[in-house]
Each structure stands twice: as C-alpha cells, then as structure tokens.
Symmetry: none
Subunit: 193 residues, 4 copies
C-alpha cells in the first residue's frame, strides 16, 4: 500500500496525473491491477490518499503553523522562511507539484487537487490572519488564494530550473510575496516597539 502510493507518486511525477494510468502504477509497484483496486476504488482515490499523507507529513514536519507567528519577525523574514520550507518540502516530494497542478479547466476544480490545495490555502489563511487584523475574512481568504496561486506559479518556475538560476527564481518568489503582502500588513507593522 505504501508501495502503491510511492509508485503512484513516481508515475504522477513522470507523466502527470491525467496521463498516469492505473496499470502503470500497479506495474511500477510490482503488483497486479487487481491488487491496486483492492486498496483504492479508482485513480482519484490514490491521488487523494497521497495528498492526505503528504499533508500529514507536512504537519508533522513543520507543526500546525507553517511559520513562527512571532509578531516581531519582519515580514520579509517570515515570507522567506515560509517559502524555503515549502520549496524544501516540494523538492523532497516532487509529486506535490503534480497533485497541486491546477485544473486543466479553470473553474472546474479537480477533486483530487482540492484536498491538498484547500488545506494549503487554509494554512496560509491561518498564517495571514494575525498579520492582517481588522481585515474582513473574505479579503484574507482572497489574499491567501492569491498567495497560493503565486506560490504554485513560482514553484513551477523553480522546479524547472537548476543551480544558480533556481536560486534566483526562489529569491524572486520571495520578493513577489513579500512585496505583495507588505502594504497589507504595513499599517500595523509587526516590528512594533
């Protein structure tokens, strides 16, 4: 079963979710297709289970909060730390990108991505809330969605580069998020006296 999930991760990574076939996953896992269907009712269930395990691992690794919510932390540092952690996690689990990879058709959110995506948005929301006191919840949600979208877009750039160029893109990603958020939190600077 862990075998199956690993195989699924591997196949998802190399072919993408849509093009991944259950037979290929079973083969990669060294089991028969029938066995796969004894654990998962369909391909999507595999993606969902995989997502859940990844989220669990993320929570275990980084704790409930993504970043230290120490209000004294400068935003720039907080953002950089969050990005570094996310990037690190994604590099160790490249399938995350594949699973989060937006739907082919905007608006029709693919279910399998939803779990991971929604959870991450929620985490970002939780992270943002103390930074944006007095901001309507709807605005915070929107901001979280935007951050998530930017992060995913940046991640794609990062993953398809290597070495110094990758580092440069990571820095850009930090810049984007920092500059985007700064004016929002600027009114109540976290670097108070």
């Amino acid at each position: 079963m862990a075998q199956l999930l690993e195989a699924a991760a591997s196949v998802f990574c190399s072919t993408g979710y849509t093009a991944a076939s259950t037979n290929a996953i079973a083969r990669e896992a060294g089991v028969s297709p029938g066995t796969l269907y004894q654990f998962f009712p369909n391909k999507e269930a595999i993606a969902i289970e995989l997502s859940e395990r990844l989220m669990l691992e993320m929570r275990e690794t980084y704790g409930e909060a993504l970043a230290p919510v120490d209000p004294a932390t400068p935003l720039e540092v907080a953002v950089a730390a969050a990005v570094d952690r996310f990037i690190d996690f994604n590099c160790r689990h490249p399938v995350v990108y594949t699973l989060m990879h937006g739907p082919d058709v905007p608006g029709r959110i693919a279910e399998q991505h939803d779990a991971l995506h929604t959870a991450l948005v929620a985490r970002i929301e939780a992270l943002l809330t103390p930074l944006l006191p007095g901001t309507p919840a709807a605005d915070i949600t929107r901001t979280a969605h935007v951050c998530m979208a930017m992060y995913k877009a940046g991640l794609e750039l990062v993953l398809s580069r290597e070495g110094a160029e990758r580092e440069a893109y990571i820095q850009e990603l930090k810049n984007i998020l920092h500059r985007y958020l700064e004016p929002l939190v600027g009114d109540c600077p976290p670097t108070g006296p």
Copy 2:
C-alpha cells in the same frame, strides 16, 4: 477549417488539452474524423495553428507593443492597462488559458504551449526592457518569466470567479505585478521632471 479550430477551442476549453480527443473535436465541428486529419496531422498541430491565429489576432488588436511605452506613464497605470488588455483578450478567447496552461510535468515544456507562451514572454520582455535600463538581459528575461507566471496564475483565479469577486482578483493581479516591478524600476522613476 475555421469550423474545426472553433470546435477545437471549444473542446479544449471544456475538457483541457490533454483530455481533448480528436474525434470529439470533429464531432463538435460536425465533420468526420477523417476530415479533421485532412487539415491537421494531429492534435498538436491543431493547438499550434490555434495558437498562431490567436497570436496574430492579438498583434492585430493591440499592435506590436502591448502597452504604450510612454515613459511618463506611471508604472501602476501601465501595468493596469496591460493586465486589462490581457484579461480582456483571455476572456474573449478562453482557449488561450488552456493553451498556455503549463505542462503537467515541470521542465518538460509541452510544444504546443510553447509558441503562445514564448511569444507572450517575449512581448513582456520587450515591454520591460525600456523600463529597466542597465539591467542585464538575463535578469530581464527572468523578470519576464516571473511576470508571465504570475499573470497565468492570476488569470486562473480570475477566470474561475465571476462578478465582483472576479473584479477583486483582477485588482489583486494588478497589485502583484505593480508591487513586484516597482522596486525594479524605482531607481529610474518614469515620472522624471
């Protein structure tokens, strides 16, 4: 043939490129599969032709330059104008999003997307160059890629919302790009004496 391209656009939009089948496109166009293959050797060729037509239309609609390069234009206004135009174009041609939609597997750039994507990056690069004098070409290219990625990510958010919420996301997209670019052009303010 225009019939076929329209049908393809429609099918790409509703199912995504990967899941779109040539038979479905032919059916949507009201012709037989054979007919489709008299015009296009395969699915990718359809996407490429579609991309080319869209790029052509874009050039015809907005001219060679995406935005007025009047150096006196405040960055915020320039960015807002560019985003509005892009968004408008994408809303009139929703297939653009599908065609630009990143690869399932990062790094392995799908050929059919390349044309459109690369062309757009080039346009952004051309737009940025006068704004960032003295910046190394490699940095400008990177910045253009980042802008493009942000735009695509924002577009997805925008397209999956409607009404006021969509407007709000459009504004966020403008904010992101403006705030991201502002420090870069800040050293040589376009609002000179």
Copy 3:
C-alpha cells in the same frame, strides 16, 4: 497519367502493393486523389495498367519470343540468355518484382499479379514447347509454372544482394533452371544434326 503510373511504380516498390495507398500514389504523382480516380477505378486497376505497360515494353524490347529459338543453341546458353534478359528487365523496372510478388495467400491468386504472371508463364511455355516435343501440354504448363516460380524466387535473392554476391546468385539461378530443364530436353538434344 504516365505520371501516375510512375508514381505508383515508385510507391509499390518502396512499400509493397498491399501497403501502398492511393493517396500516397496521388501525392507522389503530384496530383489530387480525385484525379487518380478519374483514370483508374481503384488501386488494382493501377497495378493492372502498370503490368500491361510493362509487358508491352518487354515485348517491344525483346520481341515476341523471349529467347532465340535457334534449336542449335545449347540449352545452357539459352537459359543464361533468358535469365540475363529477365534480370536486366527487372533491374530496370524493379516494380515488376513487386507486381509479380506472389499472393499473401496461396491459392487465392491476386488478380493484379495475374496479368503479368500469366503472361510470363505463357511466354515461358512458348519457349519450352519447341524444346520439349512430344511432351503433353499439361506437363509443359507445369514445367513453365515451375520455371516461373524458380525465377521469381531467384529474383528475390538477386535483388536483395549487390555486387559480386548478386552475380553469384544470378549464376545459381541459371544453374537451377539449366539443371532442372536439361533432363527434360535431353532425350531429344537440340544440338542434333
């Protein structure tokens, strides 16, 4: 039209008759499929017409008789001459091999091959008849079929070799036919006074 036949010969040679498509022939000829069908009702008709033209050319080149029926000619020389002429003709018109190439299914003689094949058998029969006086017609026919079959088999070997090896196979082909026929004509030696 000659254009079409040339194109057909070329396509038949490079893909074989079965795999040759009328569209490919039309393309090779630089005309549209429709044009092809204005001259030929179907693929087979092309093969038939091609066969007929080849037979005509053969008759024009070598006269009604394949070989000099001078009874004084030693069999070995006559056979060698006939083989050389056939081989020469087949090398100048490689499509002959393709057209003669036996049916995929023995017994169900493909119609298009029939013309050429039957004509050649008839020529061989005519050639043999004076050499085998007193032999029942059925036997002569059978012998002609055998010669034809041997020739075709030898031709395949010859055509798939080059240089010295090809020459060696040509010699073997002559040997086969000569040794096969010698005992049959031996009783009434053509070299009689």
Copy 4:
C-alpha cells in the same frame, strides 16, 4: 493464449500477415481486443511467438537434424525425404507458408519472418555441410539460401494445387533440388563402396 495463437494462424492464413488485423484475430479467438494485448504487445509479437512455437514443434517432431545424415543415402532419396517432411509439416501448419512468405519489398526482410526463415536456412546449411566437404562456408550459405528459396517457391505451387496435380508439383520440387545439388556433391559421391 493458445486460443489466440490458433486464431492468429487462422487469420494469417486466410488474409495474409499484412492484411490480418488484430481485431480480427481477437474476434476469431472469441476474445476482446484488449485481451489480445495482454498477451502480445503487437501484431508482430504474435507472429514471432507463432514462429517460435512452430520451430519448436518442428524440432520436436523431426529432431535436431532434418534428415538422416547417413552418407550412404543417395542424394535423391535424402532430398525426397527432406521435401516430404517439410511439405508434410507445412500442410499440417499452413501458417508456416504465410509466416515465411517473403517481404513485400526485397531486401527489407520483415522481422517476423526472419526467425522462421533464418532458422530453416540454418537447418539446410547444417544438412548440406557434410555433403559438400571442402566447399567454402560462403558458398554453402549461398546454396542453402537458394535451396530455401526454391523450396518456398515450390511450396507455394504445391499448396495452391490439390490431388494428383499437387503430387506432380511435389515431384518437380524434388527434381529441382536434386538436380541443383547433384553436381555439387557429385565430386564426392555419397554412394561410395
């Protein structure tokens, strides 16, 4: 699976290899197309497996040597025996002819035929070697190829006739091979004291 191979043999026989469709084979076997592809990756693999089974059966039936290599056996008898056995085998397995059937295009040996054809040539070579002592290997190989070609050509004639006519053609085939080989082995007559 045996079911599939039998069906394939049947379809190959009635339509020829090129024209045989995997769907037709599946239908003939009474299974769905998908089932066929669980055992064979493609049409050629079926032909190859079929060839291998036939070669195995041939070896099991006739032993490693095709004919008794008793040097005292007159060539005529040895050839007749070999032909009879081959013919018998081919009549019991008509698909052999189809599988051996030369390529549509000379020189481009079809892979699927190769196995069977090459194996048979090797057997003939083994058979000839003791009969032709002192002959260069290259010549023996060539002679084996010629014998094989003659046999295939004769087989086609035989298979497309029935009854007495078939018997007559079998006799002719024996004659051809015997007369072709006799001068070669004549120098060291196997009928020694």
